[in-house]
């Protein structure tokens, strides 16, 4: 997949996904995005003296679901630990996380049809709050600003951290991995996948080495939150690290930060001053005792995964892999497609419409199908009208589909209202063809003297006379007949 490079790139990813629970991991505060600062807080998530955490069981179910979808082992007796460090966005002075007994271990995910990325583990943890630096040029965190404000709305939000093995070797693979992971988490309903709001962010571990030599020293790039940034950060790191290695210098093991504007990564802290997190078992929570029956129930009721769905579309609906990918990966498109197919319309034609005109429309407007007025019924009805020959593809493309997307309504009603039905009476068409022939004797001469191309002129004239409604097949037939 990747272009041939001098060094081998070894990439492992730690993806933090926010679980789609209504409330936080250890209290009943809302997890809703966009509230006023510190609105979604209570003594528990603010770490008031004396408070205790109570585990949100929904979050545990979501973590199990993620584990099952990614082929992990679930540990029914996993436990929570305290990860300790000081930072103003961490009101307790520790984050409740999982250290040596995470809820899921192992697992895998496939990209590009056959490239397997193995997983190390998935663990549950609470998110920290957010600092707002009150200065224009607070580039270097706290130090550039006059003061900082703390917003604890996000503190205590449930996250899962999905840790991959260092199984990826290019930016393309890393991006494909995160994209597929995002689709899976969204499909099983545990994460909304909204990267702008921070629902999915990732840390990239990257090292370079020469073929056949041991792995190089890795750098960790923190908190990258878009597909584009993932690719750019990896590409930048490749350049930075290969330059060092080319010059015979060493790569330092350190944590780096990706800066969007410059596209560069910067050193945050080296291994020497890395935190000693002093992990120890969280004494305020008891080890979990997840019932085997719950795991089985979640396994049995697991929704169809994106890869399963794509495969099903190819085999069940006989549509090309690429179209299956486009439709199956988009919940809205998949829904409209499957419903329209159920109306007994050709799945191939429906798929062509979706990947063609409809996708083009959505891309231009930068919206999703759910934001349009198109219903599966009217979509199926329109394609049915084409299949029956009532309207032509062109009429549908030029005069119907856009209205259905923008205003909704019935395709049939539009056809009737605008009198768009094809003229399918051969006698009627012959009469029009005759009129065109009579009015254009010069072209008739040309045709008869062997210029076959001129036939298209007649077709065009007939279409013009019928406002595009004449059946192209019938026009052709009658022209051939009358010009013989």
């Amino acid at each position: 997949m990747a272009t041939k490079t001098k060094y081998k790139t070894v990439i492992g990813l730690e993806v933090h996904a926010q679980l789609k629970t209504a409330t936080k991991l250890f209290c009943k505060c809302s997890t809703k995005f966009g509230a006023k600062p510190n609105e979604n807080t209570c003594p528990v998530c603010m770490g008031y003296p004396g408070v205790l955490p109570v585990l949100n069981e929904q979050a545990v179910e979501f973590a199990i679901k993620a584990g099952l979808a990614l082929d992990c082992e679930i540990d029914p007796n996993c436990k929570f630990d305290r990860k300790q460090y000081f930072y103003p966005d961490l009101p307790k002075g520790y984050q409740i996380s999982q250290f040596d007994k995470p809820i899921c271990t192992g697992g895998k995910l496939t990209i590009f049809n056959d490239k397997v990325v193995n997983l190390e583990r998935i663990h549950m943890e609470e998110d920290a709050g957010k600092l707002v630096h009150a200065s224009e040029d607070a580039a270097d965190r706290l130090h550039g600003s006059d003061y900082s404000l703390v917003d604890l709305n996000r503190a205590g939000t449930p996250l899962i951290e999905i840790v991959s093995k260092p199984d990826m070797s290019s930016a393309e693979e890393a991006v494909a991995y995160v994209k597929e992971l995002r689709k899976i988490l969204m499909a099983i309903g545990v994460c909304d996948g909204n990267m702008q709001e921070g629902s999915l962010r990732c840390d990239i571990n990257i090292s370079l080495n020469l073929e056949g030599e041991p792995l190089g020293t890795r750098a960790e790039i923190k908190n990258v939150n878009s597909f584009r940034s993932i690719a750019r950060a990896i590409e930048y790191e490749y350049k930075r690290q290969s330059k060092l290695l080319d010059a015979g210098e060493k790569v330092v093991q350190e944590t780096r930060l990706f800066e969007e504007n410059s596209g560069k990564t910067f050193s945050m802290r080296s291994k020497e001053d890395s935190h000693d997190y002093r992990y120890f078992p969280e004494p305020d929570l008891v080890p979990l005792a997840i019932e085997e029956s719950l795991i089985n129930e979640l396994r049995e009721n697991q929704p169809e995964l994106p890869s399963q769905k794509r495969n099903r579309y190819v085999s069940e609906f006989v549509i090309p892999e690429e179209a299956a990918g486009i439709i199956a990966d988009d919940e809205g498109l998949a829904e409209i497609f499957e419903k329209a197919v159920a109306e007994g319309v050709s799945s191939t034609k429906l798929a062509n419409w979706i990947t063609g005109s409809i996708s083009a429309y959505l891309n231009t407007k930068e919206i999703s199908i759910k934001e349009t007025k198109l219903s599966a019924d009217s979509f199926a009805e329109m394609v049915k009208l084409i299949e029956e020959g009532t309207i032509s593809d062109n009429i549908a493309k030029n005069s119907i589909i856009e209205e259905l997307l923008e205003k909704g309504g019935s395709a049939k009603a539009i056809v009737e209202r605008d009198d768009l039905a094809q003229i399918t009476d051969p006698a009627q068409i012959e009469a029009i063809v005759q009129e065109v022939i009579d009015a254009n004797q010069k072209q008739v001469e040309q045709f008869r003297s062997g210029n076959q191309k001129i036939k298209g002129f007649f077709v065009g004239q007939v279409m013009k006379a019928t406002a595009g409604k004449a059946s192209p097949q019938l026009i052709n037939e009658s022209i051939s007949k009358l010009l013989k």
Binding site: V51, L52, R82, R278
Partner: protein, 499 residues
Amino acid sequence: MSNYIINKSALELKESFLSAEISAEEITKAFLERINQLDKGNINSFIHICDDLAIQKAKLLDSRLIKGEDKAKLGKLAGIPIGIKDLINMMGAETTAGSNILKGHKSVYNATVTHKAISEGAVPLGKLNLDEFAMGSSNETSAFGSCKNPWDVNRVPGGSSGGSAAAVAAKFCPLAYGTDTGGSIRQPAAYCGLVGMKPTYGKVSRYGIIAFASSLDQAGPMTRTVKDNALLLEAMSGYDPKDSTSINTETENYLEYIKNNFETKESLEGTRIGVAKDFTPDSLDDDTKAAFENAIKVYQDLGAEIVEVQLPKIKYSLACYYIIAPAEASSNLSRFDGIRFGTRAEAANLDAVYKESRHNFGEEVTRRIMLGTYALSSGYYDAYYKKAQQARRLIFEDFENAFETCDLIISPTTPSPAFRFGEKSDPLEMYLSDVLTVPVNLAGLPGLSINAGYDSEGMPIGLQIIGKALDEKSIYNAAYAFEQKSGVEVREPALEALV
């Protein structure tokens, strides 16, 4: 009238209130008056007194009683004043944990035990002095000045619930909440001649109690009589969904149990009481030893069977405790970093704010944070914390084995009675005063201290009664039997001499 009120037990006060003999307001005012007269500048058991709040609550109870509300609905503690250790959150009051770092910190919510006390009709009078963050055995580490022992103001009341013990002994309140991590209820109860119960871990909700060592902390009642103690535990205990470590069992009626057992049978026949050599170290002072031997005789006379048991691993208790408790404390106290909680020092940058704010912790607290931080450091975790947890398991198993041949285990509560201020300046020597109580916390078992006599200088001596997990009722039954039949004289500290 005033003395008439303050001399009553909690149960008697409740009876007086419910029978409309004395109003809750009169009761409350009598105790507040005594506190105002004798506490400040003398005993120093209260850090904050909530007069207005208390009188308001008492008046409300009076009006409910007058309106003819069902007496049972007025609560198990109807009309009884209570003092609350200042480690426990009470809305509308400051909760300081006896530390400079929390000076001025107003509670924004009620601890579950506070809520229970109030909803059971108790009248909280104020917040009681303690060792800073409950770390200490003498009340000398409080940032609000040490609290004195009412039996001898030159001596410590014990700790960390020293304020609670002193207040009950001085009859400033008939009931008090204490907390016990390594003996912090039982040791001061012993030093002040009271009944103090450390319940089974998980019996009482920890929600709203500032954590010292989360896996050991347990709140409990401190009272002058066994029945008052049983009454308060009944009111404060029970499953709390806000505390994941709380045990979901039915609440028990201990008073009923005592009535149906010792009060009916007047004998402890059938009760096997364990005595262990491991619990009577050489360091025991002579009077304590004599009082303990007398207690064994009392129980024999009451028909109990005395059984010799072995607890070979409890000698590791202090070592084990001084890894686990500081480790958990170092983590629990991280939130007092000066950012969201704790007195913030003004400093140039974030690191300096952290460093400067820490100076608001006292010496003992700082020592324990350092010990705990070290024990949890990477590379030392296995050698210290993990090993201590393994030792803890063995200590628990020791008790489990011992309880196969007995129902209760008795021991002295402390190696000697209350010491004088400044007498134990070496921290290790101070830690030794908890040597007999710490094993009970490590094993998560219930343990009670009851007065078992006096030393040659008239200081009270404690007897510890340890039970099986969740078997507080047997402890109360045996403690009640001792209280009624031991013949130990009921004396009172001569407090009035102070004024």
